[in-house]
Symmetry: C2
Subunit: 491 residues, 2 copies
């Protein structure tokens, strides 16, 4: 039927002597794997970490490195913000919702300052400075950024505070983060086996007892005396799994290191583990907050559909999930010119016109559609209002000719070359876990000896996403899974 590799479990009795043994076997050396391995090793367990690539890092190392943390961290205080766990919870419950995992979220918010200090103790540096402007990712090494907290309706639910914590590196900070976390795991005693891909779980009766892996085409077997922790990432790189569970991402770009093939999810479900929310995704559209806030984001029918000052993943997901494409950043000359050169990320107006009638025709929109949208927008903006979507008045200004439209398909820094969809994403669904990372079966009971964290699991997320909540919950629940896996009762 398909050429999928077998992920079916292997009985321990079929294995004639394991090649390697340990207490806790971690599958995947991204942020969740590093956090789990560190805690398990720090708790005294003998820890092995399998990584399919030639070194640690995974998709985490290629990410922006944002960590969604708050509740009153030292960095927040240094930047002048009084945050609380409750305010953080109120924002995330809404922004990761509907249907965020409130049990996980509550713990995550209540223990967020401790988690922040854990990063610092592992050598992850953060500068006590705020990047104030809305952006996908600052190109500076500022330690704090806004991630939609100050946008409607979230600013009506709790006192807004910026919670995007960034390791002190300009631009992409994931490499620095992972360098420190991998080093911490290693220093704590965890041993990594690179170029080693876990393929099947080993079952001893109903208990997970190890893994069958492949290294350079050879089979290598691992016995885990206490537990296996799956932290092998999501499944955006597996086209069949996307078609089965998250088809909205088919055809779009992939935010991953190319190895998020869902193999950990598959081998665990083959052994009876349950999954949840496999259809939930995060999507990033090539549309810059600095531009859409000053102008607007419209769909293929020339309609606005959201307050553009939300976390940019929110307008991206809203566009791709709910609106007919293509999507366009519409901005006027005054707005475009006011965006600092360094914040333009190579975006240029591909379409410029003196009138909206010309522009909408050029973009293939119905006659009068973009005209009506801008007329309505301008009429309310004159009064500093946005009764449809409640964009912050500071961004509201009537747009004047000449007008421009920017096509997301060009890509940031021309990376899309006009060929892509202008959108890229990753998956958020996965194994059904407790707050301690125990993987549940389809009867709601824990699968003995099996833990998971990171994007191989369904984390705090309901149907929404905010930057830093994947590295955030991957490390936070990775740590909990590592500690739980190392516990004596797993012997």
């Amino acid at each position: 039927m398909t050429d999928r590799t077998s992920v079916e479990p292997v009985a321990a009795s079929e294995i004639d002597g394991f090649d390697h043994e340990c207490d806790v076997l971690v599958v995947g050396f991204g942020c969740a794997g590093a956090a789990a391995a560190y805690e398990a090793a720090a708790a005294g367990a003998d820890v092995l970490v399998l990584e399919r690539a030639s070194g640690p890092g995974g998709s985490s190392a290629q990410s922006g490195g944002e960590l969604y943390l708050g509740g009153g961290t030292e960095i927040q205080k240094a930047c002048g913000f009084d945050d609380t766990p409750d305010a953080m919870y109120a924002y995330l419950e809404a922004a990761l919702g509907p249907n965020a995992d409130t049990a996980k979220l509550r713990l995550y918010c209540d223990e967020s300052t401790e988690h922040f200090e854990w990063f610092r103790a592992r050598g992850v540096p953060f500068n006590p400075t705020l990047y104030e402007s809305p952006v996908w990712m600052p190109m500076t090494d500022d330690g704090l950024m806004w991630l939609g907290e100050n946008s409607w309706p979230y600013n009506t639910l709790a006192e807004p505070a910026p919670r995007g914590h960034r390791p002190a590196a300009p631009g992409f900070a994931g490499a620095l983060l992972m360098e420190r976390l991998a080093a911490a795991a290693t220093e704590a005693g965890a041993v990594a086996h690179a170029d080693t891909q876990a393929a099947n779980l080993v079952m001893d009766g109903g208990r997970v007892a190890g893994v069958v892996a492949r290294k350079y085409g050879q089979t290598v077997t691992y016995r885990a005396r206490k537990a296996v922790v799956i932290t092998s990432g999501g499944f955006v790189d597996n086209e069949e799994m996307l078609a089965d569970h998250a088809p909205i991402l088919l055809g779009h770009g992939k935010v991953s290191d190319g190895l998020d093939d869902g193999s950990g999810i598959r081998m665990a479900t083959a052994a009876g583990a349950a999954v949840r929310r496999m259809s939930v995704v995060e999507i990033a559209l090539t549309a810059l907050p600095a531009m859409v806030n000053r102008g607007m984001l419209v769909d293929g029918l020339g309609r606005r559909f959201i307050n553009e000052d939300v976390y940019p993943g929110h307008y991206s997901v809203h566009a791709v999930k709910h609106q007919p494409g293509p999507y366009w950043t519409i901005i006027d000359e005054e707005g475009f010119e006011s965006v600092p050169e360094g914040d333009r990320w190579g975006l240029r107006p591909a379409h410029v016109a003196e009138t909206l009638a010309e522009l909408e025709q050029e973009l293939g929109m119905p006659a009068g559609s973009l005209e009506a949208t801008v007329e309505t927008y301008n009429r309310h903006a004159e009064k500093g209002e946005d009764p449809y979507f409640h964009k912050d008045p500071k961004w509201l200004r009537p747009l004047k000719p000449p007008f421009a439209a920017i096509d997301p398909r060009a890509g940031f820094f021309d990376a899309g070359g006009g060929k892509g969809t202008g959108a890229a994403g990753f998956t958020l669904g996965g194994l059904h876990t407790t707050v301690d990372g125990a993987v549940l079966n389809n009867s709601g009971a824990a699968v003995p000896g099996l833990y998971a964290a990171g994007r191989a699991s369904s984390g705090m997320h309901g149907e929404g996403y905010i930057s830093g909540t994947s590295l955030g919950d991957g490390t936070f629940f990775g740590r909990r899974a590592g500690r739980a896996a190392a516990r004596k009762e797993n012997e």
Copy 2:
């Protein structure tokens, strides 16, 4: 962790003598189960059917009874339509998409006339008359109805033909359909055990060998010498499964007999079966085609969002999935009065106003929003055009005062009492099956001895739905599963 009943598989070796034995054990006696049982019995197999309720029927018997069939059935011909399997395929690929299962769909369309004759041979009567008007379900006994085939963009893809085939009963025809199908299965030799709920699959090595069931609180064991066919329906009645897989349906009404608890999906996944598209749902909004076609359907911001003459499930799903609520049918007096009394289904305008400014204020929409929507609609309708959504010109007419708004929350025939959400649905995702109903595991291989059909499986559907495709693919692939289960190689 949860109070879910265990659905974990039971080893055959743990069962000390089975209470019952058969060749093919069918779990669930709705339309898919009846079709599977009939074919397996007709092929000479010894067939038992387990039904949790006290008699056959399931959700199928409580449905409208529509069967999506075409390609040139006798009823279509009698009504003057020349349909082809290719035209049927073109419509369904688009209307059940994106990402319809093209392999299943191709077979379904190519063999649709044969499938129609199979129903007639089982004693299901169809009248050779067409109900022409758009409607959720005719209250007449006409045998044929339109299901969106003549709406844009579908009418540009293939020659439209009505394909909603209705057993000859006024209104809900599911009971008649199931009476005939259950009788056919019984006459072919299948024996039903009622009040018997399958709880766990019995595994003999890697092979499904039976079921552990409960009847009046007692455990009853069944051995299936050839195969188990799961046709136990979807999971709209299981709140935990909805939260895990299809949270969009949480809080809405349920289109089911109350027993679509996903137990068949759960017991199969516990035994290693794969699922797909668990998040896909069908939703019906209390908004009548006869009214929205004459007026419009708008969202909570007073915006139209679709051509209202599509299959009504399409505008319903589009509203609930993609638009902010609440949703409103907007119609003028002339339009409302032109709807025949019998087609009004008890809907009354709860809000009437001489001006749209009054109406939009009463409905809590932004000032000017509904005014702008109707102004745009009217301006284009004058010219017989709908450049945004392409509603058929026959429905386009400028709306004039007085205007009315109808709230779906009232429910048809006041059944909602203003308390519900105005929407009800069911699930379309389920076990991953081949065109012969073989259930696949997470490695893409068939689970020996396990078949599934109907809403316990993922059928032809991508992300869309059309009335009659659930009874349609449930019976069509139920028949194929029954035949495959009875084959000699399963011995």
